[in-house]
Amino acid sequence: MLWVDKYRPKTLDKVTVHDQVARNLRKFVSEQDCPHLLFYGPSGSGKKTLILALIKQMFGAGAEKVKLENKTWKIDTGTRTLEIELAMLSSAHHVEMNPSDAGFQDRYVVQEIIKEMAKNRPIDAKGRRAFKVLVLNEVDKLSREAQHSLRRTMEKYSSSCRLILCCNSSSKVTEAVRSRCLNVRVNAPSEDQIVQVLEFIGKKENLILPAGFAARIAAQSNRNLRRAILFFETCKVQQYPFTSNQVAPPLDWEQYVSEIATDILTEQSPKRLFDVRQKFYELLVNCIPPESILKKLLAELLRKLDADLKYEICRWAAHYEHKMRLGSKAIFHLEAFVAKFMSIYKEFLVATFG
């Protein structure tokens, strides 16, 4: 079992990084009533852990017996019949799913699953609660229509079905949904907190950590606890006992983006742009999200630029990333950004060095 799953806190009392949030959530459980909740914060900050611990606190150990099922809905809209298949985890007390996997048909899924849970409400509630919990992941990727559908549905069936929404950024959740939920902000852990967690895991695994080793991993993880623990385990697999200056190897795709940045800075020519395009295709084919590529590329470029250029480059990165959201072919916008960067950078070099 990966350490990232092995040492995940299972109950709210064992949550260490967000003890204040966990204490607040425990009040909902003790008060026998739980409003709709919206967890938001960066990835790797512990949102899912808090949600699972909360569900276990509400329903007991039965909530851990989950099964994965592929559910199919046939929805008759009058003019045509849709068939939507989606994977979801369900236990006797809760259902967890990613409705945005259904693409533009996500609003039917959202409505149908809630109505279905309302219908299937247990007549004799053997569990301790009269309602079931529906966990919707990546709510910020739902379409506008689906979020509109969510508004009234979550009100109408609130006595039998409570929603726990989970997203990275609450900016993309409509105001109407946000105002019907209790917003729980889960910030990324600080580097000190990550160091504490790594030392805790090291102790459990009987490992000896050199001085500064955990701090280096924490700095490398960008305040992402999942990455920090995975880096830690990678270092253990690579070489143990740890050396005093050991560093976790970067992710493959990040290394690849670093090479792209070096290529761009070395030469600005159509031939080089063509080579970079091939590299972008390689990344996209391996399912790296295009916005992650662009952000990583920007970070690599900013490290090597003069201050004057930085303002201009981050402006164009924001511009092309916005265009990427509106369009459907990411390679167009990635390549356009590189072409624009090459143009600006070459002009800068010519003006500076003649």
């Binding site: 607040n24 009040k27 008060e31 026998q32 009533d33 409003p35 938001y40 914060g41 960066p42 900050s45 809209t77 009058g78 003019t79 409505q111 009269a130 509109h148 559908s149 508004r151 009234r152 609130s158 006595s159 950024s169 609450s170 900016s171 993309k172 105001e175 109407a176 105002s179 019907r180 209790l182 917003n183 902000r185 889960v186 910030n187 990324a188 960008n222 305040r223 916005e291 662009l294 952000k295 201050a307 004057d308 250029l309 930085k310 303002y311 201009e312 981050c314 402006r315 990165a317 924001a318 511009h319 990333e321 916005h322 959201r325 509106l326 002009e347 800068f348 010519v350 003006a351 500076t352």
Partner: protein, 339 residues
């Protein structure tokens, strides 16, 4: 099995006014509606205004006052955006309900006029085709059916439908109006709310009474019966002021890397950037030592960024762009590099 503690009702529903005259301080709307209710001759109605100002409450209160609780279920059809609202629904469900003859049942104490009511809540999310399909329906069955449209933006309702309705604009609630309502709820629930917390609640809810009541209930649940300003701020998702000020301070330093570090920290803390844009705008506009042309430049960038965020752009990149442009504005650097 221990008996369940009765589920607490959301205060938004518990304290929803049941009578038209109880709707808080939409005087023009209430006066006209009270007169209309005497004659029981309703036109089609169009309620519009910001969220949380009593539009749905007023529509439901009218229906209850006309029919009473028993006849309400059979005489009133309520549709929301959550129900499919394409053209097909208009052709079937709405038309079928509108065409059915009115029953003869009457209830003592209620006017029970000889028509039914269809309430289309959140009508601005109806498709244009669906709205067009409604035009003929509203005319053909106007003897036996009246329509209530409720929306946030009247511009989203097609002109032919809007012209068939009596329009009522619901204003955002002012602080003293909201205060009296909040104080009433505090007294009923046994809460202590000081003047500063009351003022904070008005500011963060921005005239939206539903939001204010929800924040109040959330804060009461988490922090007990004594509620302070910081408690309300923490449940509402509003960003603490020092975070916004530290972003501005990082921009004032004139160093891109300092601003980039601050932006990364804000993103890692999980603050919603659209909320940060609104608060940053307030800080910029109210700053005394920034000249007007610099303010204009920064505000223009904030407007563009807000649009990009609504389109779903990445928060880190957009916030970094705002910080970068703010630095360039404060130090009068040109908008486009020239070599």
């Amino acid at each position: 099995m221990a008996p369940l503690v009765p589920m607490s009702q959301p205060w938004v529903e518990k304290y929803r006014p049941r009578q038209v005259k109880d709707v808080a301080h939409q005087e023009e709307v209430i006066r006209v509606l009270n007169n209309t209710l005497q004659t029981a001759d309703l036109p089609h109605m169009l309620f519009y205004g910001p969220p949380g100002t009593g539009k749905t409450t007023t529509a439901l209160a009218i229906a209850y006052q006309l029919y009473g609780p028993e006849l309400y279920k059979s005489r009133v059809l309520e549709l929301n955006a959550s129900d499919d609202r394409g053209i097909n629904v208009v052709r079937t469900k709405i038309k079928n309900f509108a065409a059915v003859a009115v029953g003869t049942a009457r209830k003592a104490g209620y006017p029970c006029p000889p028509y039914k009511i269809i309430i289309l809540d959140e009508a601005d999310s109806m498709t244009e085709d669906a709205q067009n399909a409604l035009r003929r329906t509203t005319e053909t069955y106007s003897k036996v059916t009246r329509f209530f449209f409720i929306c946030n933006y009247i511009s989203r309702i097609i002109e032919p439908l809007a012209s068939r309705c009596a329009k009522f604009r619901f204003k955002p609630l002012s602080e003293e109006v909201m205060s009296s309502r909040i104080m009433h709820i505090c007294n009923e629930e046994g809460l202590n709310l000081n003047a500063q917390a009351m003022s904070t609640l008005s500011v963060i809810s921005q005239g939206d009474l539903r939001r204010a009541i929800t924040y109040l209930q959330s804060a009461a649940r988490l922090f007990g019966s004594s509620i302070s300003s910081s408690d309300l701020i923490s449940v509402s998702g509003v960003i603490p002021e020092d975070v916004v000020k530290s972003l501005l301070a990082a921009c004032r330093s004139g160093e891109f890397d300092v601003a980039n570090k601050e932006v990364s920290s804000i993103i890692a803390d999980g603050y919603p950037v659209s909320q940060l844009m609104a608060q940053f705008l307030d800080v910029i506009v109210s700053a005394d030592d920034i000249p007007d042309d610099q303010k204009a430049r920064i505000c223009k960038k904030l407007g563009e960024t807000d649009k990009c965020l609504v389109d779903g752009a990445d928060e880190y990149l957009q916030l970094l762009d705002v910080a970068s442009e703010t630095i360039r504005s404060l130090f009068n650097m040109p908008r486009t590099l020239v070599f």
